[in-house]
């Protein structure tokens, strides 16, 4: 079948639309995630989202996204709180919550699942092998609404996010409400993770968030250029990965991440070469 024939299927069109939006959202906060301690919050949250999904599966919910979203956002807020509390080591708390959520999630699925193909289900949640291709209409709409919201919030708070990412102490000292914006960033990250879970599964989310930013950072040196470039990379890689996987039947998530990785290596090489010439 040719590409055009594939595009006749609504599920492929849905997947493309949602894929592009997710790619866009997940790349925007990549730089912030890479450069701040938020990176491990992101990783921890993806495991929490897995736990949330397991609970939703056990409760036999038809539309699990709202529940997973609620669980992840609440965890994000809690993690941020503990991270700021000097007495409890932030990273230890995150490790505890994320590994705990992973274990409980798998346990729940094992105990209560009625599905005949349990390991298949688990695999889907972890690696997102097909979820992007089986989205229902309501899930597509929810994804669109959330993505638009994330992009809007990012644009609206772009300068504040920059100030806080670059130098939180200075921002706070000169009157920016860093606590509020940190909370906002954590919530947005939670939303992105729940969205991205459909695309690549909970284990590969970090890749989707971090690779485009890292790639762009090889090539560009201002925050704006890196952000724009990361968004473009992310969308291009995701669309490429999606199409490749639909046409050749490879798992969606890992194909996209493989393309992201290839793009990163390419950028790294280009970065090295141009740096060599400049020196």
């Amino acid at each position: 079948m040719t590409l055009l024939e594939y595009l006749q299927y609504p599920f492929v069109r849905y997947a493309l639309i949602v894929g592009v939006l997710i790619a866009l959202c997940s790349s925007l906060l990549g730089v912030t995630l890479v450069l701040k301690r938020f990176s491990f919050i992101g990783d921890g949250l993806s495991h929490v989202a897995f736990g949330g999904l397991a609970i939703a599966a056990v409760m036999n919910l038809t539309n699990e996204m709202p529940l997973v979203l609620a669980v992840t956002v609440v965890s994000a807020v809690l993690l941020l709180r503990t991270g700021q509390n000097a007495k409890i080591k932030g990273d230890a708390a995150i490790a505890m919550i994320s590994v705990g959520a992973l274990a409980i999630g798998y346990l729940l699925m094992n105990l209560f699942s009625t599905s005949s193909n349990l390991s298949g289900d688990v695999c889907t949640t972890l690696f997102g092998s097909t979820s992007i291709l089986t989205l229902t209409r309501s899930e597509v709409w929810l994804s669109i609404v959330l993505s638009v919201l994330v992009v809007a919030i990012f644009i609206f708070f772009y300068h504040k996010i920059f100030a806080i990412t670059f130098d939180e102490s200075f921002a706070k000292a000169t009157g920016t409400h860093t606590g509020l914006y940190n909370l906002l960033i954590a919530i947005v990250i939670a939303v992105i993770i729940v969205l991205a879970m459909n695309l690549v599964g909970s284990l590969l989310i970090s890749a989707l968030v971090i690779f485009p930013a890292l790639s762009a950072m090889r090539l560009f040196k201002s925050f704006k250029a890196v952000t724009v470039c990361a968004a473009v990379f992310s969308v291009v890689c995701t669309v490429t990965g999606l199409l490749v996987s639909v046409m050749s039947g490879t798992p969606v998530g890992s194909t996209i991440v493989a393309v992201d990785l290839a793009a990163f290596l390419l950028c790294w090489l280009v970065g090295k070469l141009t740096a060599g010439r400049a020196a």
Binding site: Y158, F170, A173, T174, T176
Partner: protein, 234 residues
């Protein structure tokens, strides 16, 4: 009325006080130099003045029309991650952020202000450069320009010349003098006794003995002689 007043201030971390019963005030247009040995709590004092950590007890008041988001700050060390992609312009402009409130974008005036601050510090040619590729002295100027965007009234500088060579150090001191001459109040932490005594008009010495007063009084104090002796012994 003074711009900044500290009454019976105690500071420290998690219950352990580093300094107690600190009293001093800074009036508009003054140049206060904070002296003291390593670990005496100078940076802690500055962080407390900025509201980055709560005082253990006592109070810090601002007056003379100074609002809390009108203080410019040059940190002792900005641990900017090695890979942070940011242009000089983006960083200087971010100094205006405190005055933005909920407004998402910078106004024309704020951009003009950032450009002016860069002009003052002669870093206009660096506008498009990447911050992490600058030399230490250039980075320090960029951060000073950012601090200048945040205030027209009061600058807090934490060891602005640490790690700079003598020539650049002198240039930076000259710049700070220039800003002071424009009417900006300066509070500077320094280990450079010589420069402190040259430019400052008030001295706050913290450590086992605390001194606050004018420079002339400081030169007569035991505190000063003790500090000199300590310096000689090294």
């Amino acid at each position: 009325m003074a711009q900044l007043i500290c009454r019976d201030l105690a500071l420290g971390y998690d219950g352990g006080a580093i300094l107690e019963h600190l009293n001093f005030e800074v009036n508009a247009g003054e140049y206060l130099c904070i002296l003291g040995e390593n670990g005496s709590g100078k940076s802690t004092l500055m962080r407390t003045l900025l509201g980055l950590q709560p005082p253990l007890s006592g109070e810090i008041r601002t007056g003379d029309g100074l609002a809390h988001n009108e203080i410019g700050y040059l940190p002792q060390q900005t641990v900017v991650q090695r890979d942070f992609p940011a242009s000089v312009w983006e960083i200087v402009l971010s100094g205006c952020q405190g005055g933005c409130g909920m407004r998402p974008f910078y106004t024309k005036e704020e951009k003009a202000r950032a450009a002016e601050a860069m002009e003052t510090l002669s870093i206009t040619p660096l506008t498009k450069r990447c911050y992490r590729e600058l030399s230490g002295g250039q980075q320090q100027r960029v951060l000073l320009a950012r601090a200048l965007c945040a205030t027209r009234k009061l600058l807090l500088l934490d060891e602005p010349v640490a790690g700079l060579d003598p020539r650049v150090t002198q240039e930076l001191y000259a710049l700070i003098r220039k800003l002071h001459a424009r009417g900006i109040t300066i509070i500077m932490i320094s280990h450079d006794l010589h420069a402190a005594l040259e430019d400052a008009d008030h001295i706050l010495h913290i450590g086992s003995t605390v001194f606050f007063g004018t420079k002339a009084d400081y030169l007569q104090s035991d505190c000063y002689r003790g500090f000199l002796k300590g310096g000689d012994a090294q």
